[in-house]
């Protein structure tokens, strides 16, 4: 495991597909709740199926991560940085799973049908409860803002590794061979 420099191909594929989906989802979400135009309905129609797809892929990704692990960070990185990197990944996994679940729970508590697409409606996961709906609705927003913040930190960290440190950490998520001179230093 310690010799491996790359994430597994499945992990890399899931990472980049989900990166696009989650960023799109966050932008759709904030644009949607600030809209009273015809776009509102179209954005809601994208938001729900995309959220459920992210939830399903996040579980697949979690299983894959547990099963196939991740390349270890370079030992040259200070302990503090490694701790931050590790906990930010835990936060990303938690939020990827929690956000769609809170959305689903929120719609259930608000007695909205959880319509996904083309007549497919998911069962509610909570009984109707307006007060709980209001709390979950607020939680959904705060978790989404939190996820966006962690993603910004994640992107910044990735770019620091890829462009400044050039230590192979960023390349572990790519298909291109890293310029390996960093390993020799």
């Amino acid at each position: 495991m310690s010799e491996r420099k790359y994430f597994s191909p499945l992990a890399r594929g899931l990472h980049w597909i989900m990166a696009l989906m989650i960023l799109a989802m966050l932008f759709i979400g904030v644009a949607m709740v600030a809209s009273t135009g015809p776009a509102y309905h179209r954005l809601v129609g994208l938001h729900r199926p995309l959220g459920i797809a992210i939830l399903a892929l996040a579980f697949l990704r979690l299983v894959n991560r547990v099963a196939s692990g991740a390349p270890s960070l370079p030992t040259t990185l200070p302990q503090g940085i490694r701790l931050i990197a590790g906990s930010s990944q835990v936060a990303l996994y938690l939020l990827m799973i929690a956000l769609p679940l809170v959305g689903w729970a929120m719609l259930s508590a608000g007695d909205y049908p959880v319509s996904i697409t083309g007549g497919v409606t998911l069962p509610p996961i909570l009984s109707p409860d307006p007060a709980l709906y209001a709390s979950l609705r607020a939680l959904h927003t705060w978790l989404a803002l939190g996820l966006f913040g962690v993603i910004l930190a994640h992107i910044t960290g990735a770019l620091v590794h890829g462009l400044l440190l050039r230590d192979g950490v960023f390349q572990a998520m790519l298909w291109r061979r890293p310029q390996v001179r960093t390993q020799i230093e």
Partner: protein
């Protein structure tokens, strides 16, 4: 962090540092832009809710519009006659449970009932095998505004003056001069014949939707719930602040009330995007089924309180048209629902404990 600084000075160039800072910064700016922070003029659901609160005063726990109301329950029974136009299951001959709400338009939960105030009926029709339909209808022939922005501007123009506690006629006049379609709609609304109560009233969708049948063919439609019960004899005129609601709940305690769902089929060229414009008279109307309401309950703990009558909760077989109002209602209702569900609510004006049927 000094370790990072050292590494960066070893390997960094200004361009690379620029990318490291620029990419996340650009994403953050784009995110804030998507949320509307750079476009304060954008009409958001929160803006509309703030407008209602400023015009009608804050009424925590109540719907921001159609605030005075009562819950009803019953069922809808399709007869199959709309099935050639829409594949929605509820149009076939079966019985779907219904939760509904009668209300007065406006954001004042304790306003007095009066003959010419706009009355509304909202419904949630729940077919046994899914394909739920929610709608909000009003007893006026046309809607007053073409879009949410005009509605919001009119509300602001109609805000009562601090001194007179009445709207400033000059501001309303200026709005109507700039919006002849609203002036025209108002005159049609004023000319409508007034029924004596909720039971004998007809309620219109006002907005246009599209029916989609099993072959995928679409038909623009509007619809109306038309009462089967005749108007009562003239001697039963009631008075009192809640006489419309008292009448309704007393009647429902005695017998169920019935409406026919009449679907109006639009022709090519009929305005679907403009709910202020009536469709020409003589359009084909289809009797799609019967609504039966047999029980009234107070909003306080009643079955209609924990739901929002979002007009875009549509079954397969009904889709939105280019009418912009339903999307605006959907978005604003969601915001109103979130706000009121998190607030402590005072008792509703219509409390059935004091009414004749004493539920």
């Amino acid at each position: 962090m000094s370790w990072i600084r050292q590494k960066i000075t070893e390997k960094g160039s200004p361009g690379r540092v620029g990318v490291v800072i620029g990419v996340p910064a650009a994403l953050a700016v784009a995110f804030i832009a998507a949320a509307g922070w750079f476009t304060p003029d954008r009409l958001t659901p929160a803006t509309v809710i703030r407008t209602f609160d400023s015009v009608d005063g804050p009424h925590p726990g109540f719907r921001r519009n159609h605030a005075k109301g009562v819950c009803v329950t019953g069922w809808f029974e399709g007869n199959g006659q709309a099935s050639p136009y829409s594949r929605a299951a509820l149009f076939s001959a079966e019985r779907s449970p219904v939760i509904g709400r009668f209300a007065l338009a406006g954001g004042l939960p304790y306003q007095d009932d009066a003959p010419d105030k706009v009355r509304s009926l909202a419904l949630r029709i729940m077919p046994p095998n899914g394909g739920e339909w929610r709608m909000g209808m009003n007893d006026i022939p046309v809607f007053l505004f073409r879009n949410a922005r005009d509605f919001n501007s009119f509300l602001i123009a109609s805000r009562p003056e601090a001194t007179t506690r009445k709207p400033d006629p000059a501001r309303i006049g200026a709005f109507l001069a700039a919006h002849p379609e609203t002036a025209h709609a108002l005159s049609q609304i004023k000319q409508r014949s007034l029924s004596s109560g909720f039971s004998e009233d007809a309620y219109n969708s006002l907005d246009a939707f599209l029916f989609v049948n099993a072959d995928g063919r679409t038909t623009p439609v509007r619809w109306a719930m038309e009462p089967e019960q005749p108007a009562p004899a003239q001697d039963s005129v009631k008075t009192g602040r809640d006489y419309l609601f008292d009448d309704l709940t007393a009647t429902l305690a005695e017998h169920p009330l019935r409406w026919k769902l009449m679907i109006v089929l639009g022709q090519p060229g009929d305005p679907t995007a403009d709910p202020t414009a009536a469709w020409p008279a003589g359009r084909t109307r289809i009797n799609a089924g019967t609504l039966v309401l047999d029980k009234a309950e107070s909003e306080d703990g009643g079955p209609c309180t924990g739901i929002t009558f979002d007009p875009l909760i549509l079954p397969e077989g009904i889709t939105p048209s280019d009418d912009p109002i339903p999307a605006a209602r959907s978005a604003v209702y969601a915001r109103s629902f979130t706000a009121r569900s998190g607030e402590m609510k005072a008792p509703s004006a219509v409390s059935l404990n004091s009414s004749p049927n004493g539920q």
